[in-house]
């Protein structure tokens, strides 16, 4: 601690000298002033720790000096102890009101003076310390506020990173689906392109053979009957599996082989193509005619045009179903508001996207009660089903049964997914919702899928439960309020 300095002010040289020597001995640094004016100047210049101020002085008395001190920002806090002679008239009240902290009387009892000086210096030190601490506290508060702001910003960043992570998890799931979806789209596209080729060829052939056809119809009305019978039977026929087609072909071959009919192999092929499986006997007499083969070929062209058009329609339906599901899945609801959705429909959307994986060996069994529309964040709910279904398919290595049950009871919607996969130990089960916990190989899963599922369910004030047994399978059960 630095040495304390004391300014002594007195118009009597003897007093000054006595005080000076006494205080120096005590280890203080001492300044002295012989009158008020000098005192003010010395105080301003040296900023002493304390002032011992005589009251009765010519020109400027002690009160006035004190007032000067208190008026100056720099010297205002220096404690002033008044010194007064016992015989002087002394106004204690005034001494305090002008800013003095204490007083002593002459002749001095030096112990008393030193004690008071020491006390006020200590007080002053304490005060200074307090001010300094206060300043430090203020600084700390500012710093803390800054840190809090930074934390807030970090938290905001984290939140946006989290939502980016959720989004990227969704995109990753989408990416895994894309390859399969390419197949789902390219298959109908292939069928469409081939159907159009077939349709055009049949159309061209029909046009080319039109004169011949009209002539044979004009010549013999049995030909027209044959044409329409074939078209009618073909239209009424049902779809045949590959196996059924083979059986039909064999049957036709057997039946025709005993008949004396031209171009039997062509005939069998065309009749199989037209799926003429019933009422063949009534056709037989009509077939026994030189020209009937050209009528049958004409019928084949017409059937081909219808069949290929039907195939195009089927293919378009198939492709649009996939695209529709994809669009629903990839849809990002920017409004951030809940919308009413059909829970079963949203599960179906995800199943459509996973169709190509499911069909590889998973049987999906659905038990669904009809549900009221549910208010929720639609694309987030899609993500819940996606993650659960994806995990189920992986747990079963694409072979087994996935049972989906949707129950509506007591204002709650319970959706459960049960797979017949590998199941998991209770140790894994306990950690399954932890972020970045994964049992999958590196690169196969981010480990945040189920964490996201849990967050989304929590966001809907819902609940998610899991039951699992090693070797038997796992059930995920999602509880949602049906609040509207």
């Amino acid at each position: 601690m630095t040495k304390h300095s004391i300014l002594i002010v007195d118009d009597t040289q003897a007093n000054l000298r006595f005080l000076f020597s006494t205080l120096i001995k005590q280890g203080y640094q001492v300044y002295s002033a012989i009158n008020g004016k000098v005192a003010v100047k010395v105080a301003q210049k040296n900023l002493p720790s304390l002032i011992l101020l005589d009251i009765m002085m010519p020109e400027m008395d002690g009160y006035e000096v004190c007032e000067h001190m208190k008026a100056d920002e720099q010297t205002r806090n220096i404690p002033v102890i008044f010194v007064s002679a016992l015989n002087e008239t002394f106004d204690k009240v005034k001494a305090f009101s002008v800013g003095g902290v204490d007083y002593v009387t002459k002749p001095f009892q030096m112990e008393e003076v030193l004690a008071r000086v020491a006390t006020h210096l200590a007080l002053r030190d304490m005060q200074k310390k307090l001010v300094a601490q206060n300043v430090q506290l203020q600084e700390e508060i500012t710093e803390r506020k800054q840190a809090e702001n930074n934390l807030q910003k970090t938290l905001e960043n984290l939140r946006s990173t989290q939502s980016q992570l959720i989004q990227s998890e969704k995109l990753a799931a989408l990416g895994q689906l894309i390859a399969g979806i390419a197949h789902e789209i390219n298959t109908p596209l292939g069928a469409i392109r081939a159907s159009i080729d077939n349709l055009l060829d049949s159309f061209n052939d029909a046009i080319m053979t039109l004169p011949q056809l009209s002539q044979s119809i004009v010549e013999n009305d049995k030909h027209l009957k044959l044409l329409f019978t074939l078209l009618k039977k073909s239209k009424a026929s049902t779809d045949l599996t590959s196996k059924e087609k083979r059986i039909l072909k064999r049957t036709l071959q057997q039946k025709l082989s005993n008949e004396n009919i031209a171009e039997i192999s062509t005939l069998v092929n065309i009749l199989t193509y037209m799926k003429i499986s019933e009422g063949f006997d009534e056709l037989l007499p009509l077939l026994k005619n030189e020209q009937s083969i050209s009528i049958i070929k004409a019928a084949r062209n017409f059937v081909s045009m219808r069949k290929n058009s039907d195939n195009i329609n089927l293919a378009v339906d198939k492709a649009s179903k996939v695209i529709f599901a994809l669009r629903k899945f990839a849809h990002q609801d920017a409004s951030g508001e809940k919308t009413e959705i059909d829970i079963i429909d949203s599960i179906e959307t995800v199943l459509t996207l996973y169709h190509n994986q499911i069909k590889q060996g998973v049987e999906v069994v659905k038990y669904c009660q009809s549900l009221p529309p549910v208010l929720c964040y639609a694309d987030e709910i899609h993500q819940v089903w996606t993650n659960i279904i994806h995990n189920a398919l992986q747990a079963m290595t694409l072979s087994g049964t996935l049972t989906i049950e949707v129950i509506h009871s007591e204002n709650q919607i319970i959706v459960s997914f049960t797979d017949t996969g590998c199941g998991m130990s209770s140790a894994i089960k306990e950690r399954i919702f932890e972020p970045f916990f994964t049992t999958k190989r590196r690169g196969e899963g981010s480990g945040i899928g189920l964490d996201i599922v849990k967050r989304i369910v929590d966001k809907h004030q819902g609940k998610i439960e899991i039951e699992s047994e090693i070797g038997k399978g796992t059930t995920f059960r999602v509880f949602l309020d049906d609040m509207r």
Partner: protein, 157 residues
């Protein structure tokens, strides 16, 4: 011209079924097998082959690889030669590359072609190495490409 064989007086009388069997042989005993789990693909594919390649071949279809193997066995029992198999890759159960590999191991003369909607490099390479894959066509395929591939495959025989 009649497809039916002329029955000479010294031709032995045949049971209808056996007769049918013989008869079929005279029609055609060369087959092309198409395997795909989508019947719209099978229907359109076979129609394309039939109209471009005509009655020279029997066109058979199967909706799974497992059924494909069954058909293969049936045809062989009927003394039909399977020349080419065109198979999808992504099907329920056995995948195309595995199926064609099995076929190749048993019948190395059959020309194998894959027709897929999904360019799965690994399984194409697998089929090339272990099923002697003649070609891989991608959906949506063009008719011209399909016929050219089948014809070039037939030329290899």
């Amino acid at each position: 011209m009649l497809d039916r064989p002329k029955l000479g007086s010294n031709a032995p009388a045949l049971e209808p079924e056996k007769y049918c069997h013989r008869y079929k042989k005279t029609m055609s005993n060369k087959a092309i097998l198409c395997v795909d789990d989508e019947f719209i693909i099978l229907e359109t594919l076979v129609e394309q082959l039939e109209k471009k390649l005509g009655n020279k071949y029997i066109y058979e279809t199967a909706e799974t690889a497992e059924e494909g193997l069954e058909v293969l066995e049936e045809l062989i029992n009927d003394n039909v030669d399977i020349l080419i198999i065109v198979s999808d890759w992504l099907m329920p159960g056995m995948k195309g590359d595995e199926f064609l590999t099995k076929v190749y191991q048993q019948f190395p003369d059959i020309v194998t072609v894959m027709l897929t909607g999904q360019a799965d490099e690994e399984s194409i390479v697998h089929a090339k190495n272990s099923a002697n894959l003649h070609a891989c066509l991608f959906k949506p395929w063009s008719e011209e490409e399909l016929i050219r591939t089948i014809k070039s495959g037939l030329e290899k025989l």
